[in-house]
């Protein structure tokens, strides 16, 4: 039994563009341990967004294998994919993607709605989560009334509320200034310390250097796989105790 949370073998993906096929991923091998904090870097067109979409079960792949928590993720219907996303994955986006007409608490509570948790219970859980993010007094504000950093913290709270195994963050600091970026990274690091695997797609070196491992994509293959400092993969047991 490996403690890989994400294991990818020889992953291929191409998009049809008219008569031509655009080969985006050309055989990716990747093994991310539970509790790791990894950044994926690469220039635009290197396939990093495609890889993130496949890891998030938002997109399908053509060839190869993908195991999420030792479950093989194959072509599946959308209902099943949605259940997987809801159970395993929390998304954080560059543009926050909060629902504009719902207040902070409702936004955070939304994933629980799709878990059929009662309104009272999920609002209470959302409030607790906001409290942990230091945003309790902003619970009844709409996203438009909040700063970028606050919005991203709410987005992270939303990603965490359903207790996912993996956080997938697509350029989480891309729309933030340096100061706020570091604050968001601090939060993500704390999330990681709770035992949740964090995968960040970024093109900012200073952000990438705050993760334990940097995977650099180049033209659809892994160019470099650099381990930062003294990273020690943690064991299954530790994850349980931390959760």
């Amino acid at each position: 039994m490996s403690n890989s949370i994400i294991k990818v073998e020889n992953l291929h993906k191409s998009y049809k563009m008219g008569n031509n096929a655009l080969h985006v991923l050309k055989g990716i091998d990747l093994d991310i341990k539970a509790g790791e904090m990894v950044s994926i870097m690469g220039s635009s067109g290197s396939g990093k967004s495609t890889l993130l979409n496949i890891l998030g079960i938002l997109d399908t792949y053509d060839r190869g294998n993908y195991y999420l928590d030792n479950i093989k993720i194959e072509k599946m219907n959308e209902t099943k994919a949605a259940r997987f996303r809801n159970k395993y994955i929390g998304f954080v986006f560059q543009s926050f993607n909060l629902i504009s007409f719902k207040n902070a608490m409702e936004n955070v509570a939304l994933p629980l709605y799709y878990k059929n948790i009662s309104r009272k219970k999920r609002n209470q859980m959302a409030m607790e989560m906001l409290d942990r993010m230091g945003l309790k007094e902003w619970a009844n504000h709409l996203p438009a009334e909040l700063s970028g950093g606050q919005k991203q913290r709410i987005a992270i709270a939303r990603a965490l509320i359903s207790n996912p195994k993996v956080i997938l963050a697509d350029e989480p600091t891309g729309a933030l200034d340096t100061q706020t970026s570091y604050e968001v990274m601090n939060i993500l690091q704390e999330v990681n310390k709770m035992g949740i695997t964090v995968i960040i797609v970024t093109h900012e070196n200073d952000i990438a250097h705050r993760t334990q491992r940097i995977i650099r994509l180049r033209d659809g293959i892994i160019g470099e796989n650099i381990t930062n400092g003294d990273f020690q993969p943690i064991t299954d047991n530790e994850i349980f105790t931390n959760n």
Partner: protein
């Protein structure tokens, strides 16, 4: 359920004006449907009022002159019904006839007096069974009965206008009126709901024959049958006609000598017309609602397009395609159901207002009730309209919901 309602409200609040405008088209459609159906019902009730005073399966039989020479008898012979015809029909059609009465009319003997008041009225000798054929409301006293017949009593029942003309405010029961100077005791006052102004007096038929030199003659016969269908009633009508023609030696091809008015046949014909009208109204109504549905569908499609990103987010955080479909469908059903319900209420309100106004008018001129009466939409109409609404909502939401469910989160979440 409550959860979904919360979701619907929070999104509809975003587009209040648009939701109201869309709802209006549906409300209007249902409003028109209810109005049209109610008016159709009003016309039908008016028509049915025309038949209210008679048994629906009545046969009215009268005689004329023969047109064709037959069996050694010349054309132009006057056919005269008698009590034997009555007895014969009673025996022969025991199973088919529920009520039968001979009618002996007193032509030209109609001067009726009470004290200083007098008038000329329709005078007719009938059997007690006649009350089940020509249905009247007894206002006071009683109808003629078998005892009156058995004892050849000189009793009479008078219609309300006659009572008003002869008795004014006096109580007529037990008083004697004089018909051609023969005293008759008034035992009842009635009103013909079909023709309230008719000045009529009924007396027992055998008394009439004896007192007014009628011998055994009858002018007309009236029957109410046991038939439930037009075909059945028609069969009885033909059998009665054939029997009477044979008895009076009328040529089989002589269509004029004996006339029969088949109420059920005419009632059903009139009903058929109104069924046609109702069908027509439903078609128009549904067409109007379709216009509303297209409107709702249109708006929902735009709404889904605008909410592409939101739906993408929802899918990314775990919304299944079915839950997205439910989101859109429930919104569409909510709009159609709520606005349709308002249209329904307004339509019904207008109908009952019209109904009340008509009732007031009818107090002055009762004829109105024979044209247009009680234009209401009954429960079955309301239930059908509600079913139509829910289906309409489903149809309206179907295309947009499919569109919404097909949204791919990656495309929806793509940063512009």
């Amino acid at each position: 359920m409550f959860n979904s309602l919360q979701e619907i409200f929070s999104t509809l609040k975003q587009n209040k004006l648009r939701a109201i405008m869309t709802g209006f088209s549906v409300a209007w459609g249902i409003f028109m449907l209810i109005l049209l159906l109610g008016s159709g019902n009003g016309l039908q009730h008016g028509m049915e009022n025309n038949f209210r005073g008679v048994a629906k399966n009545a046969l009215w039989i009268w005689s004329r002159q023969t047109q064709v020479a037959h069996d050694g008898l010349q054309a132009g012979r006057r056919i005269q019904f008698t009590n034997e015809d009555y007895d014969f029909l009673v025996n022969m059609f025991r199973d088919d006839i529920s009520n039968i009465s001979g009618r002996f009319r007193l032509w030209g003997q109609g001067t009726v007096t009470y004290k200083d008041n007098y008038g000329d009225y329709d005078l007719e000798g009938v059997r007690p069974e006649f009350k089940n054929i020509q249905i009247v409301d007894i206002i006071q006293g009683r109808y003629l009965n078998q005892m009156d017949m058995n004892e050849y009593r000189k009793v009479a029942i008078i219609s309300l206008p006659v009572k008003k003309a002869l008795f004014k405010d006096e109580d007529p029961i037990g008083k004697y009126i004089r018909i051609s100077n023969v005293p008759f005791m008034v035992v009842g006052v009635f009103e013909n709901p079909e023709r309230r102004d008719d000045e009529q007096i009924y007396i027992p038929v055998n008394t009439a024959q004896r007192v007014f030199n009628g011998s055994n003659r009858l002018n007309e016969l009236a029957i109410s049958t046991n038939a439930l269908t037009v075909a059945e009633n028609k069969r009885i009508e033909e059998a009665v006609r054939t029997t009477l023609m044979k008895r009076h030696k009328v040529a089989p091809d002589d269509k004029q000598a004996i006339g029969i008015w088949n109420t059920l046949e005419h009632f059903k014909q009139a009903q058929g017309v109104f069924r046609g009208i109702r069908l027509f109204v439903w078609v128009i109504g549904i067409m109007t609602i379709i216009a509303g549905i297209v409107g709702v569908s249109n708006i929902m499609i735009i709404l889904v397009k605008e909410r592409t990103k939101e739906i993408g987010i929802r899918k990314a955080i775990g919304a299944t395609p079915w839950s997205v479909i439910r989101l859109v469908l429930s919104e569409s059903i909510f709009i159609t159901a709520l606005s349709g319900f308002l249209g329904l209420v307004f339509g019904m309100g207008l109908l009952s207002a019209v109904s009340i106004i008509l009732k007031n008018i009818a107090q002055q001129s009762p004829q109105v009730e024979n044209i247009f009466y009680n234009p209401s939409a009954n429960l079955s109409v309301v239930v059908s309209a509600l079913v139509v609404l829910i289906i309409a909502g489903l149809i309206a939401g179907f295309v947009p919901a499919r569109k919404a469910a097909a949204i791919k989160p990656i495309e929806a979440l793509h940063d512009e």
